[in-house]
Amino acid sequence: MIWVYADVSEAGASPAALELLTKARELGGDVAAVALGPGANAASAELGLHGASTVYVSDDAVFSDSVGQPAAHVLAALVAEHSPELVLFSTSYDSRDVAGRLQAKTGSTLMSNASDVLALDRARTEILGGTKIVDVELRGPSPHIVLVRPKSFVAEPSGGTATVVQVAAEVPDELRAARRVERHAESASGPKLEDAKVVVSGGRGLQDPSNFSMLDELAAAIGDAAVGASRAAVDAGWVPYSYQIGQTGKTVKPEIYLAVGISGATQHIVGMKGAKRIIAINKDADAPIFGLADLGVIGDLFEVIPALTAEVRARRGL
């Protein structure tokens, strides 16, 4: 039996949950999902449609109002009752907290950043900057816990419907201590990084945070484009962490990935090498990013980017 811990919100199930269910189905056997927090009941139909025969749900706000502990507590009780052999999580912030805590409760081994799940006891990941693909055998007490990078699989509906099982949110007060008291969404115009057809990404080569506006202008000219960043740019405080693409940060698989002033550290490559076409602009001819690029431009990004923005505007008649 394979379980998928599904991140849910009022907006529905996370895309990663549907990807994981599709994979779990392919591995065979019974597949169930656990969805905790506001939006869980509403998401259950979609989870069933993607392969969950049972969905354990609770809409209780405690799961979103308190971080980590309530969900881990209730999930561990469900696991003890039903004994799944494998629990799949996405690598989202909330899922990482729940998975890490579940591991302590069950004594199970945990593997993170998986790019594929091969069997109940085996998963695949890429290490050493994506240069090696390794298969990891999971042993020890059930359930094995595997966190999978988003976009590792393509979600496909199975046409199924799930039996929905309501779960009581029996969470002791002492497990509600870490409380989410405010929520702030940072407004970004245009498409989300994960959904955009084109990602324009900036690194240390931009030299100054104000230069990110050049990338904003290019993205606006292209239309279906979003701006991302390397860890170096985020570490420098130029753009928020939510921009970060890489091993730490988001995974993107756009039609075009435009790496601007990004050297191509392994940490970054993991998050973008799945792009269909990669274009790199860098003044350093030895930058590792050129080894990955379909089109590499050696030169000054401060000349190339404004010229490109003008060219795109001209071609689109803007």
């Binding site: 971080v67 690598t91 085996r122 090696k132 999971l138 008291v181 702030h184 940072e186 274009i279 590499g296």
Partner: protein
């Protein structure tokens, strides 16, 4: 307030890490560094301890070489260190590592545990939550900002779309993201005084952990080279680069 900082010595992020014949990352005899992500945790720990007149204890698990990571933490300002080294811990998974760190931490009173969000070499990103659970503590993870007032923490938790404010009583486990602060560079004085600060060296059995509790339940069973990408074309900016890039955008039907 006494703060525990979780620190890890990793193969140099600028180097080329290798797998050994046992399919484990080669950690001994290679150039290494204190994990850059841990420097943000240390900086946060130092600021909180300094503001309250407390001490910072740097706790690490790793081979003998990892002493250099603890010493870097001491040079930055941590007051003392603990390093757990044990041949039996080679290849430890995150559960084993969490058990070792939790056991080492619980030997002395503390108010707060701070770590980075994930290591640069293993990047599992779940270890601090496992440590928190083993110690029965709440956690405020992925913090881009940490403030302490009295016995309460206020953190800004990074989210996919922005941030949440998470409050939490101490004791607790906190993880801080890269870029959360500006880690200080060790001063010459700091580097000199680090050599005189106490570092306790422990084995797994010193912590009362059985061989069973310290045996990893996973291992690499197959290794393959990732397929090399066919080399693309590299041009100079002067070769009408803007037009060439726009051609590729048009080919991909995105403009």
């Amino acid at each position: 307030m006494n703060v525990v900082a979780l620190v890890k010595y990793v193969p140099s992020p600028q180097g080329t890490p290798q797998l050994g014949p046992d399919n484990l990352l080669v950690r001994s005899g290679v150039e290494g560094a204190l994990d850059p992500g841990d420097e943000y945790a240390l900086e946060a720990a130092l600021q909180i301890a300094e503001a309250s007149g407390g001490e910072v204890l740097a706790v690490s698990m790793g081979p003998d070489d990892a002493l250099a990571g603890v010493q870097r933490a001491l040079a930055m300002g941590a007051h003392k260190g603990v390093l757990i080294t044990d041949e039996g811990l080679r290849g430890a998974d995150t559960l084993v590592t969490a058990r070792v760190l939790a056991a080492a931490i619980s030997r002395a009173p503390f108010d707060l545990i701070i770590g980075g969000v994930e290591s640069t070499d293993g990047y599992t990103g779940t270890l601090p939550a496992t440590v928190a659970e083993l110690l029965g503590l709440p956690s405020a993870t992925f913090a881009r900002k940490v403030e302490v007032s009295g016995a309460d923490l206020r953190t800004e938790r990074q989210t996919e779309t922005g941030y949440d404010v998470v409050t939490c009583p101490i004791p607790a486990v906190v993880t801080v993201t890269s870029g959360a602060n500006e880690p200080r560079y060790p001063t010459l004085k700091g580097i000199m005084s680090a050599k005189t600060k106490p570092v306790e060296r422990l084995s797994a059995s010193d912590l009362g952990l059985s061989a069973e509790a310290t045996t990893a339940s996973q291992g690499i069973v197959a290794v393959a080279e990732a397929p090399a990408k066919a080399g693309g074309e590299v041009i100079n900016a002067s070769d009408d680069a803007a037009s060439r890039i726009a051609d590729m955008l048009a080919e991909a039907k995105v403009i």
